[in-house]
Amino acid sequence: MNSRRPGTYLLSGVRRLGSVTIFLVQLLIQCVPALGRPRLLVMQIYNAGARSLIIIMLSGLFVGMVLGLQGYDLLRRFGSEEALGTAAALGLLRELAPVITALLFAGRAGTALASEIGLMRATDQLTAMEVMAVDPLRYVAAPRFLGGVIAMPLLAAIFSVIGLYGAQLVGVQMMGVDRGVFWSQTQGSVDLHDVNEGLVKSLVFGIACSLIAVHEGYHAEPTAEGVGLATTRTVVASSVITLLLDYVITAAFL
C-alpha cells in the first residue's frame, strides 16, 4: 500500500472493482431468502426511505422553484414562457430527480448504512454472527441493500412531483404563466418514455448507491478510522458513480 507506483494504484482499483462485483453476486443470491424476512426488509425501507422523506421533499421543492425561476427568465427572452412546464417536467423527470435523489441518498442513507455495518464489523458483531452460523450477508447486508433499491425509485418519484409543484408555484403563482397552458404544454410534451427513463435511472442508482454503501461498510477496517474512511468513500464513490452512470443511461435512452 505504501508503494506509489501507478501500477499499484491500478491494481488496487481493479481489485476493488472485482471485490464489489463478487459482493454484488453474493448479495443477489442472498436477496431471495432475505425477501422471506419481510420485517427486516420493512425496517430497512423505513431507514432508507421514510427517514429520507423530509430532506427529499424539501430539496425537491426548492430545486423545482429554482427551475421555475431560471426557466422563466430564460424562456422569456424567446417569448415562450409557456414552455416552462415542459422544461421543468422533462428536466425533473429525466435528470434532476434521479440524480439529486441519488446524491442525497448517498449522503443521508448511504453514510448511515456504511457506518452502521462498519461499526458492526469493528465491534465484531459480524464475526459473532458467523461463529453462530448465522450468515451476516443474509441478515445484515441483503435487507439493507434491498431496502435501498426499493426506496430509491419511490423517493425519486416523490422528488419529481414535489419539484413540479415547486416549478408551478413559481411559474404560475408568482410569474403569471397561464395555469392551463402550463399543464397542457407539460402534458403535451411528457411521454411515458420520459417517466420510464427516470424510473430506470433511479433504480440503477439505487442498486449502485446501496451496493457501494453496504460493501464499504462490510469491508471496512475494523477500527474507528476505518469506519470513518468507509463512510467517506461511500459518499465519494456513490456520487461519482451516479454521475457517470447518468451519462451512460442518458446516452442509451436518447
Binding site: 425501507i45 422523506l53 414562457e81 409557456e82 419511490l154 417517466v195 427516470g198 424510473l199
Partner: protein, 165 residues
Amino acid sequence: MQSNRTLEIGTGLFVLLGFAALLFLTTQLPASGVKFGGQKAGYHVTAEFDNIGDLKVGSPVTMSGVRVGEVSSIHFDSKVYKAVVSMRIDPRYNEIPEDSFASIQTEGLLGGKYVGISPGGLDTYLKDGGHIELTQSALVLESLINKFFAAFASKTSDSQTEPKK
C-alpha cells in the same frame, strides 16, 4: 410495540406517497393518461375550425387578450370534416354576442395556441351549448412559408423573362 407501530406507519406512509407520486407521473402527466378532476363552473360554447394547429385541451380562450375561459374538449366531426372545439367560458363573462368571431392564434413565436374571441354586434348573447359560427383557422407557419416561397419564385421567374420583351 410502540416503536413497531411508528416503523409500520412510517414505512406505509412512505410507500403510499411513493406510489401516489408514481401514479401521478404515469397517468396524469402524459397526455395519453386518464384524467381525474371535477367539472369547473362556467358555460360551454362550441366552434368549428378547419385547422386547429396544436391547440390543446386546457389552452386559454381570450377576449382582447384577457383570459375568459379554456378549451375543454377537442374532437373531429366526420360529417362536416372540421375540428369541433368546446370551450368553457367563465360565468362572469356571460355577455358575449352570438355573432362573435373566434380565431386560433399563437402566443409568441414558439408559444402555444389559444382561441381569441372578437365580439360581434348582436344584442343576443352566447348561452350554455351555444355555437360560434364565424371562425378562423390556425395560422400554420410552414404553409405560410410555402406560399411565400411560391410567390417569391414566380416573381423572380417573371422578372427574368421581363427584359426579353
